[in-house]
Symmetry: C4
Subunit: 348 residues, 4 copies
């Protein structure tokens, strides 16, 4: 029996928002409806003469200084509650076994006094690429030393600073002062000893944002684009009155993930890492993201759903499927490794 | 209890056409069906780093010499009957409270001897931008002094001259002599002490019309394009025989509102004001209209519907929603004020 | 009571194919299904300032040497049977009253010994533009003198030579030798004293055909394009076995009417007359055809259907509707006459 | 009674995979669903003046050194079992009577000791273009002499080397070592006395593959593109567990047949023969394939289905229909022979 299954469902008031998020994302109708990632409009071209042995295909990449066996990150989801602890540890253990990257959820809860143990995964994931996480709106009022403490508390290899203005706008009591986030990014990039990843949460990174990030010295992005989980939809389900109505209107807001990869690929100076998260649902999507210019893909909600409905085995089965799809597609486009995959022609 | 609710439904023969219009627009199926505003094809690009405080967002604009708190005009609807009086006063009061512009319905009724009191809103809207209204086909046979009298009778800040050949064509007994309308506009622009707005009523302003207007010296337009209320549909519901059949065929006639904004934006000399009316249904549409080049947006039927079904509170709730959507979108594209919004890139 | 209604339904063996055609076209499912005229993709642009009086709008054109009050031809349909006689006379009388052109059906029946009286319309249509009609595959084996006899027998102002290879291919016992049709056209153009119109019957005229026609000296075409009546469908309903199966496959074969107008407009030397027949269903279609470059539009089956279901009054009501739509559209694009309409910009 | 009907359905273990294939292809749901051949997007342009006699139309082509009466190949399907023997002989006899090419199924079974008699068709098809067949993954480990033996065993005029990496990837126990296939092709082209055709099996030939083939000296291709039979779907129906899931994801993988014809047409040096197989369902498709640049078309599953459901007569009726459609289309585009058809303009 896994840790996950044995954990009681905690619902103290302070953690109820987090619990809502987990529940809504595990079973709710919180995806984009009309808007897609645009991956379905990208076509990889079959090569009938791959000249490869399937077992020789090398899916590994280097990301943020660590080697991944597969160009996949389990994207930031949770922390701060006992249930979150179970999820984090289960998924981090899988990441360690499989050689994926692993993103912790927002560490803001630690600042608010929640037990930091719920983010502790280093014992089960000693060699994994672990990404810390803090909101841009929080980061701007935290001294770098304080942020570093958060990073060190969990032994993170890098820090994701998440940008989520659409979510905050709809969220009851959300933060609505976004002044100084660029400055905070610039400062953290300059002062932190670990790499900083600017990460959206489902609305993507457009050309203006990419430019501001590049100018602020940010070298790593997680585009977290539109087409998968809509955080506006998640917060709308929790909102009432005018915030709820506003959420209904803004549900489809954002830059599709595939578009955001193309946009960030054009930024100068070039980003060192582009992680394509947001609606990635199969190994074909991963392959398309990489062929479009990403260095790795991230998946959040589909992993949570697989874990929720099938436990550890369910999550493993889902991730096995993604891997086998990616491997098959690499074979069928004649790409022995990710370097080659990233040079494969795409039809838009 | 508001004035609106206390007013009896008047139905003397002379005012029955006006009453029909109100009823049909409040509850009937009189919108375009296949044709849209094309706003759905315009995409505003998310900026994950807005660097703004939501409360600092300034939606104000100057329009026709007055400052609006929000770039919104409650577009021309009614007058001439007691019921119209109630509607005008209720909406004008809201415009005053909220800082919107307010358009009176066609003042032709005054010329026909109907009580001008039904257009009187200055006591409840002393500082509001109030727009008078007369048809182009009427204007051509009125001396400027007479037109000025109409303007002064209601204390209007500007005069909308509405152009509605499609409606007239389908309307039983409609005017079908459009010769001299351009000359009348030219004369009124030259001789009236207030600005003249050339305003369609749901079929939009195309390139040829824009050129004629610019040449006639008209500096302000309300495009009132296709995609919202179809005045052909309204008159069709009231027509019989061949006029009705003709109305059925012409229901979708007109230039979509978004296209009309793009078209009028290209006119030279540039129009000083472009008001985007016609199918504007949300604050996102308002934002798109402004990003495409409009200076303000107008809404007619949706306001009437909200007022009809929910009274003053219903109208306020609808307008609050539009405002909060506009504010959210300005935040999410990183536009602190309307000037910035009008420079935001759009994807068509 | 009209002639039409008093005529008995004749069904002698020799005329049964003609009778089938009339029945199938009057009530059967013989239109194109997926393919359209493409008129729906043509947009005429509204002009809010037409500067016209509706009653001053002049719809007249000169076509093939005669003046039409409206740029409309009732296209070739029938002849050879008593029932055909009734239809021809009824429609020719309407054409005379309304100032339309009128096309007789194929006069081949006369050559086969059927009574030529069934084509006689000059007594009821003394001033009308009457078009004779013969198949290209027949024409090639007829001496010019014989063809002239056919023209003179009915007092035609011009002769349509119809081209219908798709129909012949599916028609049980159809002609399948198309060699010499171009030569026959060239000879008839040179030797006949009346103009020759090369006319398709529902599959349109493409670029190669237009070139051959222009080279053969043909100066007048009726494009009779795809999107309205499918003659393949008509013959398929009458066919069996492999011809039927072939008909099912070829049902949608042909160049859409709007495309065919654009194609024939580009031919050099320019055609003097381009008649746009094939799926024209409203005055808006007529207007679009003219704005695209046609000189007149033709309607066949819809007129037959209106006559069939509503008698003379039904046909008149349908044609009134077409006229009033055309007049309204000319007004709304600001075109005082057909010359102006043919210069109106179109959006494709 | 035909051989086919008298043959008992054999189901010894060794031949069960072949039997599954036949059954699945004869009656199963194994076609592409969303992806099409793209032939529906190709438009051949009607010529109303074909100047042809239908009986003079010459559909013959020379392919791989033999003359076909019609540019059609019954594409590779089966062999190795008694049932396969019946199918092969029935179809080869039809090919002989009708002047089509005929492709044998993979001869791998012979290598595995199955009776080579099941591939013997020369007695019933003495003059027919017969194509031998072997997989690229098999060919690479066979000496040329051994391959030649296979060719000679069946009296083949040419050898198809089929490329099917997508199928192998999903097939339980499929070959997944594709290294050396290009080298094998190069060697066979150089050393075999008969022409070598590189043939996909339903995923098409893309630009990279075409380049590798041209470079390896291959002069003949059968594109066997996407849009008809999906071999991934066939194998998915036979697979379980992860192979099955992978098959579901990859079902729509491949280059559409029409696109693949356009792609291979651009290869330099030019291929001498391009056979367009994959989803060809009518004579119109055949005509489009040739107009796009193919030299002949191939049909596999539809022929099998017609044979399965209607026996020899069913297959003949289907092929008659294809021929009559092709002939009709050649007439209607004014193409007297295939040379002319291949120069007919197409609209994409
Ligand atoms: C339950 C849940 C919680 C999340 N919490 C965070 C978070 O704390 N920080 C963050 O950067 N992103 C968070 N995200 C966003 C994801 O990292 C990801 O950007 C987004 O969900 C889009 O990916 P998807 O479509 O694969 O879900 C969360 C997502 C989910 C589903
Ligand atoms: C009930 C009603 C009455 C209207 N009366 C007038 C009028 O008198 N003068 C005028 O210029 N426009 C009039 N309009 C047109 C509107 O001002 C506006 O141009 C048009 O309805 C398109 O906007 P909408 O889609 O928001 O309704 C009227 C509209 C409505 C719904
Ligand atoms: C009942 C019927 C009979 C027709 N007979 C002829 C004919 O004899 N000669 C000819 O040139 N076209 C003939 N046509 C074709 C029409 O003139 C016209 O080209 C075609 O029907 C497309 O127009 P529509 O879509 O308006 O029907 C016939 C059409 C109909 C409906
Ligand atoms: C039952 C069946 C068996 C097949 N076996 C072979 C084969 O052994 N070798 C080969 O090259 N292709 C084989 N194919 C593939 C066909 O030759 C063809 O490339 C493919 O089915 C696409 O054509 P279609 O859409 O007309 O079926 C087979 C197809 C079918 C339907």
């Amino acid at each position: 029996m896994t840790e996950l299954q044995t954990l009681p469902h905690q619902s103290s008031p302070i953690s109820s928002r987090k619990a809502d998020h987990i529940d809504l994302c595990a079973t709710g109708d919180v995806g984009f409806r009309a808007k897609t990632t645009l991956f379905e409009g990208v076509e990889l071209v079959h090569d009938a003469l791959p000249e490869l042995v399937v077992d020789d295909i090398d899916m590994s990449v280097e990301l943020l200084g660590k080697k991944l066996r597969v160009p996949l990150v389990i994207a930031a989801m949770t922390g701060g509650t006992e249930r979150a602890r179970g999820i984090n540890r289960e998924l981090a253990r899988i990441a360690e076994e499989r050689g994926y990257g692993f993103g912790l959820g927002s560490q803001r809860a630690i600042l608010k006094g929640e037990p930091r143990e719920t983010y502790m995964v280093r014992d089960v994931a000693p060699t994994t690429l672990v990404l810390g996480n803090i909101g841009g709106v929080q980061a701007k009022s935290l001294e770098t030393a304080k942020v570093l403490e958060l990073v060190e508390a969990v032994g993170a290899d890098a820090l994701c600073v998440h940008l989520n203005p659409a979510q905050e706008t709809v969220q009851p009591g959300g933060d609505r002062d976004f002044v100084g986030v660029v400055g905070a990014l610039e400062r953290l990039v300059a002062e932190l000893p670990v790499p900083v990843v600017a990460k959206e949460t489902g609305c993507g990174i457009g050309p203006r944002t990419a430019k501001k990030l590049a100018k602020a010295g940010v070298r790593h992005v997680d585009v977290s684009g539109a087409g998968g989980t809509s955080w506006v939809a998640v917060e709308t389900a929790r909102a009432a009155g005018q915030e709820r109505s506003l959420g209904v209107t803004l549900r489809e807001w954002g830059v599709p993930t595939a578009a955001s990869v193309l946009i960030t690929r054009e930024a100068r100076p070039r980003f060192k890492s582009i992680i394509a998260t947001g609606g990635v649902a199969s190994g074909i999507d991963v392959a398309k993201a990489l062929a479009l210019g990403a260095h790795a893909a991230g998946i959040a909600r589909p992993v949570l759903q697989a874990l929720h409905s099938g436990g550890r085995d369910g999550a493993l089965a889902f991730l096995d499927q993604v891997e086998s799809e990616l491997r098959a597609v690499m074979l069928l486009v004649g790409a022995r490794d990710v370097r080659a995959l990233r040079r494969v022609p795409t039809l838009l």
